[in-house]
């Protein structure tokens, strides 16, 4: 990944950093996403605020602990078969 140097007014950079801190993202990631949105396509939706992420992780781990082994297709095989059916 290439690195670029850009100039931003100090007060604007402070705003960028405040948003990045609030969303638990790096400055680079935030600027990259803003540029992508500017250059076309719908703005992506960031699911799950970070405060919910630990709860989500705990829930997934709990569901996994309770899951039972079973015979059958792997996740990749199931997905490939489904996609081939639907094209």
């Amino acid at each position: 990944m290439a690195r670029v140097l850009i100039s931003l007014p100090d007060d604007f950079l402070a705003q960028v950093d405040a948003v990045a801190a609030r969303e638990h993202r790096s400055r680079s990631e935030l600027i990259r996403e803003a540029l992508r949105a500017y250059m076309g396509g719908a703005e992506p939706v960031r699911r799950g605020p970070s405060s919910d992420a630990q709860k989500a992780l705990d829930e997934i781990q709990k569901l996994r602990r309770d899951a039972q082994p079973a015979a059958g297709a792997t996740s990749e095989a199931w997905l490939a078969a489904r996609r081939n059916r639907h094209g």
């Binding site: 992420a53 899951a67 997905l79």
Partner: protein, 142 residues
């Protein structure tokens, strides 16, 4: 920080018992990094349809509650990209160029748009796309 487009089959592995299939352990490491915000995982909107379809078709086999599993994945900090006109057009192109079904092609098109790898545990798909596009096998992920 790693950034990639996530194959829904990887998310399915998050719920599977140890040893159920290949790359389950690797998928858990990935989940942990995504939840901590150490990695950025991008998904097209169709990711949630495919994941939900798997939960309803296969979740019962493992005793997984589809609603709870779906909501947990929705609460992760995944970056969801709508299938807008641009992404759909790129998906059609990728489907023709790589001889893929349209679902898979949309994931590849998104990875090409974002200039980041498509991360998958599907060895056959990775082999098919090797050298043609930015595909990364789960085993090689950090």
């Amino acid at each position: 920080m790693a950034e990639y487009v996530l194959d829904p089959a990887v998310a399915m592995k998050w719920f599977l018992p140890t040893g159920q299939e290949s790359y389950v352990a690797e998928s858990r490491g990935l989940l942990d990094r995504i939840a901590r915000g150490a990695d950025t995982a991008h998904v097209p909107g169709v990711f949630f349809y495919e994941f939900g379809a798997w939960l309803h078709a296969e979740g019962g086999r493992f005793g997984i509650d589809p609603e709870r599993a779906f909501e947990a994945v929705r609460a992760l900090p995944l970056v969801e990209h709508a299938l807008d006109r641009e992404l759909a057009a790129a998906g059609h192109l990728a489907a023709r160029r790589h001889a893929l079904d349209f679902y898979t092609a949309v994931y590849i098109a998104l990875s090409e748009r974002l200039v980041c790898p498509f991360l998958t545990g599907d060895d056959a798909l990775a082999a098919k796309l090797a050298g043609q596009t930015r595909v990364q096998k789960l085993a090689g992920a950090r």
